[in-house]
Amino acid sequence: MTSPQRSLVVVLLLLLVVLGSATTANALPAFARKYGLRCSACHEAWPMLNYFGQKFKDNGYQLMNDRDAPIWQNPSYWPVTFRITPQWHRESTDKVAVDTPAGPNAGQQQVTSHGFDLSGLDFHTGGTLEKNISFYVLPSSNSAGSFHFETVMARLDNLFGSSWFNVKLGKFELDNLISEKRILTLTNISGVYQTYHFRPPGDSNFYGQIGDNQLGVEWLGHSYNDRTRVSAALLSTNDGQVGLPSSNAYSGFFTASQAFDVGKFGVDRVGFYAMVGEAPTFFLTSNGGGPVATPFGNNSGGGNKGFSREGFVGLFYFGKVDFLVLTQHGSDNAFFATTPSSPANQPLPAGLQSPTWNGYLVETHYVYSPQLIFLQRSEFERVSQQGVQGTPSNMGNLNMFTFGYRYYPIMTSRAGFAWHNEYSWMRQKGAAPDGTDLTSSTLLLGFDFDF
């Protein structure tokens, strides 16, 4: 055996020993520390919730066992969790407009880049202020360390002694059963659900992205064992941006779901969701086109027009294999058919119509053990009516596939660590600079950890 071969064998053996010696796991370790439960109690594989974790969340981060109030905690307990993912990743896009070197050869070409990198940092803090009063604050940064508030909310739980009356106020994740904030996939392509953010080509209404946290007030009701869940939220139509940046428009988000016992397989759930709202089509300007600046906010949007997103969701378990299924039908008013949108204080330009589309998502997990999960997700977005008449009917259609695994070498109630390896691929019709299909891919290897 040559020297490099010997070194490789030694490294592999060491890796095997390190991974193999870990016997014991963990998501918000702050919650796990509080209650002394392993991560696997609430998470199918962290950060994705399992049925028990969903119930814990629905109860306002309470186990409902009389140990929920912070007075039960050691005074030194601090409900804080940090999460970040150092990684190596490779990003490739097959057609990118380039003008270097300048000259007749300029045009488009494939661009691939790779190297070591960081994710953003999530700084979770949440729990109870008192029995049945809970909170969650999540300052979150991008990978350069620029922070914003991803979540800030307080919640009154079990009002009137009933699990059917829970009210939260602030900026929060919508009551999506398939949660983008607890997504298991991390690449630049798969780190969001395309179905939650899709818009047909030219569509300017970015307010209907149900994967984003939103500002508003939500009522949630659920049965004692969480088999039946319903919620309704009133939201400012600003996609969660603080400072009243858009208009006085509001949206509503509604969900309902029912779970069923399927014997030894566990509990399956089916439900529906709908987001219905209005959004501005123009903004007042001054000084030659700049946005109006008022002393107490910039709510200068006007000409509100409607949009909607609705669909079905299903969580199906078959022993170690489970399927998450989501459909969505989206529709925006014709005034949003172009970017920028057509001001609704003027007649609708000829040739514009309401853009509509349908989205489908299937995510599969094979949970070999609480410490090892293999996953894949396929998403398909299909435009059913282009906003601008004459646009090719399949323009903007999108396919996305991702697969990978997460291995959790430790399982304790103190911290979480995952070796994450994933490959994602996406193609969108007509999105390249020359009007042909645009294909992107990502490979990511990283250490995802929280503590």
């Binding site: 439960l37 028990f52 066992n65 140990r67 030894k264 109630s413």
Partner: protein, 303 residues
């Protein structure tokens, strides 16, 4: 060159090592065999049959952090928990429908999993399907050899609940005094009786009496029948004894009604007590019944 003595020593060492390895392998195989046999443990709840083997993944995911791989209550969280997680290997359980000192029936364990145990970190695991719960009951049983050799006790008979009357509440209060419940639970049920600070469980760990005035659900359930059961079966492994030998079934209902008057919730019993102007007992006064001498109840088995 090795001497004969060296050769002999070498031969003996090799032989001894061989037999030692062989005995280790045999012991490991035997342990594995016993564990494998125990994994055939079943539970029976109504029409459901639970299988211990099927519950292994769920136990590992949800329970092992507190109850431990071996079910001995020594999971990695044990040092920080109070009260401590149940040691399943002892085959001793607080919440039973069976007489003190006997094994619980499967339904008792099945109900405990879904109900959880208030004032502990054991949450209500009612998110499981019925089958998952039945499987987990079988898995809990497989840890204790007792379940292989003993049969569970016969559930106590609970007579139909009579109507609440003022007389029954007064009789219950007299019983509360006669049985010296107040020594631990306090004269107003606030868990501040003279013995409250000295209580220990079977592992000599400090334990608190139940505070009725707090309004929390009792560990083994909050219905009248649950209270009746706690009183008549005792909470094995704790200082709370069974009073089955000392109290007639009908009298036990009187006590249940009186205990309800100590709780802060609006109950019929509390309303009647208010109308009666019922005052807390005076521990120094003689008991209102002919048996002024405290009755010695059947002690809970200690291990």
């Amino acid at each position: 060159m090795r001497t004969t003595s060296q050769k002999l020593s070498f031969f003996v060492s090799i032989t001894a090592g061989f037999f030692f390895a062989l005995s280790c392998a045999a012991t490991a195989q035997e342990t594995k065999y016993i564990e494998d046999q125990r994994l055939d443990t079943e539970s029976h709840i109504g029409n459901l049959t639970g299988h211990a083997r099927a519950a292994q993944p769920d136990y590992r995911r949800y329970c092992v952090g507190c109850h431990g791989e071996e079910g001995d209550g020594l999971g990695e969280n044990e040092p920080w928990l109070d009260p401590k997680p149940r040691n399943f290997t002892l085959g001793q359980f607080k919440c039973r429908s069976t007489p003190t000192g006997t094994l619980p029936i499967d339904k008792d364990l099945y109900d405990t999993i879904a109900r959880g145990l208030d004032r502990s970190v054991m949450p209500p695991w009612n998110t499981f399907t019925h089958q998952q719960r039945a499987d987990l009951v079988a898995y809990v049983k497989h840890f204790s050899p007792k379940f292989q050799t003993e049969k569970p006790g016969t559930p106590i008979q609970i007579p139909p609940e009579p109507a609440v009357t003022a007389d029954r509440i007064k009789a219950g209060q007299a019983l509360f005094q006669r049985l010296e419940c107040w020594k631990c639970h306090g004269v107003e049920g606030r868990a501040n009786g003279p013995s409250a600070d000295t209580l220990q469980d079977d592992q000599n760990r400090p334990i608190k009496a139940y505070n009725f005035a707090e309004g929390a659900r009792p560990k083994c359930g909050g219905t009248d029948a649950d209270l009746y059961k706690i009183f008549m079966t005792g909470l094995d492994g704790t200082p709370m004894p069974s009073f089955a030998d000392n109290v007639k079934p009908d009298e036990a209902w009187d006590l249940v009604f009186y205990l309800r008057t100590l709780e802060p919730m609006h109950t019929k019993e509390r309303e009647i007590a208010k109308q009666l102007g019922l005052k807390p007992i005076n521990p120094n006064a003689p008991a209102a019944t002919p048996e002024a001498t405290p009755t010695t109840p059947t002690p809970a088995p200690q291990q």
